[in-house]
Symmetry: C2
Subunit: 210 residues, 2 copies
């Protein structure tokens, strides 16, 4: 007797099709960017007739925004491990692990996000300036207290976030470059594990948490 989405006015077919379309769109946008992606590509990838995309979502931009909304929810979650009552080493290691796991499990989401920000974040700039900024401010305050208490080396906490994001997401966003240098056809989970270990070793030691 739960209030299912269907009861709120969305049919089973619509729900399934919307999910398929969003999933396909993430793949296509990740590979070609917003402008490079075509409705035909997305439709083919989703196994749905081209013009149905407009029926379900209206415009290409609407699909793109829906994909980004989904990604942002994923992206803001992992910072939970950075809490005052955790010790700095556990907290930061947990955060890096969570970001690496996300990067490994959702590389296309990472790429869509990266491409959006790279081109000026026209769609999500507001969210970056509000939700993301607020999140970082709160977590930076925690890190600043740890530093004041002498529990880790003095590091600019906001820039620390930039470095952690960059160092982890590079394995999704620039996978091509990583594979070229390492002479690998693609990154396997063992490679990601090695990368995570490297990032933790380097950055934790950098924070005086070795």
């Amino acid at each position: 007797m739960q209030a299912t989405a269907e009861q709120r006015g969305k049919g089973r077919i619509r729900l399934a099709n919307e999910a398929d379309i969003l999933h396909a769109a993430e793949r296509v946008f990740a590979r070609a960017g917003y402008a490079g992606a075509t409705m035909a590509d997305i439709a083919a990838c989703a196994g749905i007739p081209k013009s149905n995309l407009h029926y379900y979502f209206g415009t290409k931009r609407d699909i793109y925004r829906a994909v980004l909304t989904h990604i942002l929810a994923l992206w803001l979650a992992p910072a939970d491990s950075i809490r005052e009552d955790n010790d700095p080493r556990t907290a930061l290691a947990g955060y890096i692990d969570a970001k690496m796991a996300l990067t490994a499990s959702h590389p296309d989401a990472s790429r869509v996000f990266a491409c959006e920000v790279l081109h000026g974040a026209a769609e999500i700039g507001d969210i970056l300036r509000t939700d993301l900024r607020l999140l970082v401010e709160r977590k930076a305050a925690v890190i600043e207290r740890w530093i004041a208490e002498g529990r880790m080396a003095p590091v600019d906490p906001r820039h620390l976030f930039f470095t952690i994001w960059a160092a982890t997401q590079t394995y999704a966003d620039f996978e091509t470059q990583v594979c070229a240098v390492l002479d690998l056809p693609a990154l396997e989970s063992a490679d990601i594990s090695r990368a995570a270990a490297h990032v933790k070793t380097l950055l934790l030691r950098g924070c005086g948490l070795a």
Copy 2:
């Protein structure tokens, strides 16, 4: 009596126009990506009639490749400071400074490169697998010797490059995000200096070079 480009068959007008087009193209590709950039945008930005782009370069793709070629030359140069006869701290600090300076002086170049790699490096994949890979192998060997001699902490040298590239280029590629978090309208040179100091502090300490 020097062998000028003009004497090799390129007129003054052509040289000036080609330079203007490449400069404009870098801006436009950085903002919109390959697919999102239009010949009309590039022409407007260069102050040249649209169809002249085809006269000077043939196709849009030819312009893109010319831009990428120029960027790659810039990108591979800074690794020179990593030499056996330098001490590790100076060498790595110099490399990070050089990468940050490049990022600050050529943010659009960084973005075009990032976007190309993000989407699979169809145009420059070969160069990444040859020139870049070779460069990293040579420099990684130097770093491995420093580690073997106990002159720095054990760090995977290839992954160290990934982290340095990511940590520095994020200030160009994801400037929008950095500005959103720091509540700045744009990154000034003072902000870049702070960022460079942060990256050096964090990564050098991470390499046991504090």
